[in-house]
């Protein structure tokens, strides 16, 4: 039977010395979603992903693939894969050795599939991991993960420190060769613009809280960005935009829940980039707090 939700969190809290790294997270991630966790440093993205992987004890209710990650971590990891920016593959191992090891410990790993994926890369089986560039190590890690028949993939800043070519390759490989519509993927990254086309849903986090969550389709319907013509500036302003920013000396208006017909004719209208929307929401939240 297919599971409706891959992750269910209710009132999840993680405290460190009187500060909340997670401050009451309520979230339901449907199976098959590709969810982006977007937020500044300290927003709680990594902490939440660690909790999902059962690496942290948290308060509140948390269920991942029907299991309690704190108590059933070992069972959970048979169905969950992860890549984090700090997960280091052992440098002393050869590629062949690390593949053999994963094959020995993971019941859902296909050695043949991993080798087939690697055969399309520059990574050689006999190479020692310490001789590979950071880009190739991440590619190797992704190849291992892609050869595991997991239900949930957790990616925490997986491409941090990689150059543009490897970053693009990583996400295109992930979506074209890995994502099949049934797998659920949670991605946290600072390079929001690079994963925008990959996401089905996004949550914005700040100071341990979720400040917004929605599907990308719903976001695109709900928010519109207008670059008004010089003569339509006042008219645009009168429509009460939620946020105004300046880009190369030109004002850009962000509208929430405004019909597209009202904006057409005032300038260039299109859905906002996730990064711009995030900044706008952060500014809005900040000014609301100040008020």
């Amino acid at each position: 039977m297919e599971r409706e939700f891959a992750v269910k969190a209710k009132g999840v809290i993680k405290s460190y010395d009187n500060s909340h790294a997670l401050d009451g997270i309520d979230l339901e991630v449907r199976s098959g979603q590709v969810l982006g966790l977007i937020g500044p440093n300290g927003a709680g993205k990594s902490t939440f992903l660690q909790a999902v992987l059962g690496l942290l004890n948290t308060e509140g209710e948390l269920e991942v693939l029907g299991l309690d990650p704190r108590k059933e971590r070992h069972k959970l990891l048979q169905k969950v894969c992860s890549i984090t920016d700090v997960a280091v593959l052992p440098k002393w191992m050869t590629v062949e050795q690390v593949l053999q090891y994963v094959d020995g410990v993971h019941p859902r790993f296909s050695l043949e599939k991993a080798k087939s994926i690697l055969s399309k890369t520059d990574i050689k089986n006999h190479s020692k991991i310490k001789t590979l560039s950071r880009g190739l190590v991440v590619q190797l890690h992704l190849s291992i993960v892609m050869a595991i028949d997991a239900e949930l993939l957790v990616l925490d800043e997986p491409t941090l420190g990689l150059d543009l070519v490897y970053r693009k390759e990583f996400y295109s490989q992930l979506i074209e060769d890995y994502y099949d519509g049934n797998k659920t993927i949670l991605i946290s990254t600072h390079q929001v613009e690079e994963i925008e086309g990959v996401l089905s849903d996004a949550i914005f986090m700040n100071q341990g809280r979720i400040v917004m969550k929605d599907s990308i389709d719903a976001i695109n319907e709900r928010f519109l960005e207008l670059r008004p013509n010089q003569e339509s500036l006042e008219r645009a302003r009168s429509l009460n935009p939620m946020h105004i920013r300046t880009e190369l000396g030109r004002e850009v208006f962000l509208f929430e829940g405004t019909e597209i017909d009202k904006l057409n004719g005032l300038g260039e209208v299109r859905p906002p980039f996730i990064a711009d929307l995030f900044m706008a929401i952060m500014d809005k939240t900040k000014s609301e707090v100040q008020e």
């Binding site: 993205k45 700090v86 994963v102 020995g104």
Partner: protein, 304 residues
């Protein structure tokens, strides 16, 4: 079972220099020394230890060889072979010491811990794989080296005796007990179990302390000193001292200690029957639980 095999294979791959190459190199060096001595190229004479063919110029020695019964020859030969194998045992002991201290500290330091823990292997299974490696597998890896050394020693001696018309070629072989191979492996396993509290303590120090050497030494020093001051006893010091040495020579071992001998398998029953052994096992269990606890809490990964 497959998971344990994969974990142990991984450890052997990582520590192949200490666990496989080093004992084998020492075996090769010792073999060369033995061959050189029997072929008259060198001899070793120290205050404690003589290894030279010059003793066969002695009439008394030759007479003893001609008249001794097989049990006497076996006993003498065993003593010699035990001494010859000591450098191999010391080498693996140092490799184990370094492994115990570093295995949980290194994975935390180089952050490979996050990769290992991203795979479906429980902390208990990982810890037990390391304990099994040290107690069960490494003796099995050391054994072929000791056997090789024995065979090279016997062959060199046989050739020397036969070519010098001292005794026939088969004289040595008839006195050699091939069942000693079993005695050796059981003795090594017994040693591993006897020293398990030390193994577990060193691993525990690596799991909880930023500086494992300090973490291993300081608490022990404090407890030993406190015991001496408060209780006026030195039980803990003796406990540690015993665990550092051969199990048959421990103060609690209920049999007269002999300088050099190959143990009987029945000696293992004697060891198991001591209270000290079970105190060690209980302490080891407690420490293993502590290692699992600390390893599961080492989640200092965060990109934020």
């Amino acid at each position: 079972m497959n998971i344990l095999a994969a974990l142990i294979r991984r450890e052997l791959q990582e520590h192949k220099v200490g666990f496989i190459y080093a004992p084998f190199i020492v075996t090769c060096v010792l073999s060369l020394v033995i061959i050189s001595v029997y072929f008259g190229l060198t001899d070793i004479q120290t205050a404690e230890f003589n290894f030279t063919t010059k003793i066969y110029e002695n009439e008394q020695a030759l007479e003893w060889m001609a008249t001794a019964d097989i049990r006497q020859i076996t006993a003498v030969m065993r003593s010699g072979l035990v001494v010859l194998a000591l450098p191999i045992l010391l080498t693996i002991a140092f490799a184990i010491l370094a492994f115990n201290l570093s295995t949980f500290a290194d994975e935390r330091k180089d952050r490979t811990l996050i990769f290992w823990r991203s795979l479906p292997v429980s902390d208990l299974t990982t810890v037990m794989s390391k304990i099994l490696l040290v107690t069960l597998i490494l003796p099995l890896i050391v054994l072929p080296n000791i056997i090789l050394l024995h065979l090279i020693s016997l062959l060199s001696a046989s050739i020397f005796f036969a070519t010098n018309d001292i005794v026939p070629f088969g004289w040595v072989w008839s006195a050699y007990s091939f069942t000693d191979w079993f005695r050796i492996i059981f003795s090594l396993w017994a040693q591993s179990l006897w020293s398990l509290p030390l193994t577990a303590w060193l691993m525990f120090a690596g799991a909880f302390a930023k500086r494992p050497i300090m973490g291993a030494l300081v608490p022990i020093a404090v407890v030993v000193v406190l015991e001496g001051i408060v209780l006026k006893t030195n039980y803990i010091f003796t406990f540690i001292e015993d665990r550092l040495g051969f199990w048959t020579r421990a103060s609690s071992f209920p049999k007269q200690s002999e300088e050099l001998r190959v143990v009987d398998v029945s000696d293992i029953y004697l060891m198991i029957s001591t209270q000290d052994f079970w105190i060690g096992m209980a302490l080891s269990t407690f420490l293993i639980a502590g290692i699992v606890y600390f390893r599961s809490r080492n989640n200092d990964y965060s990109s934020e």
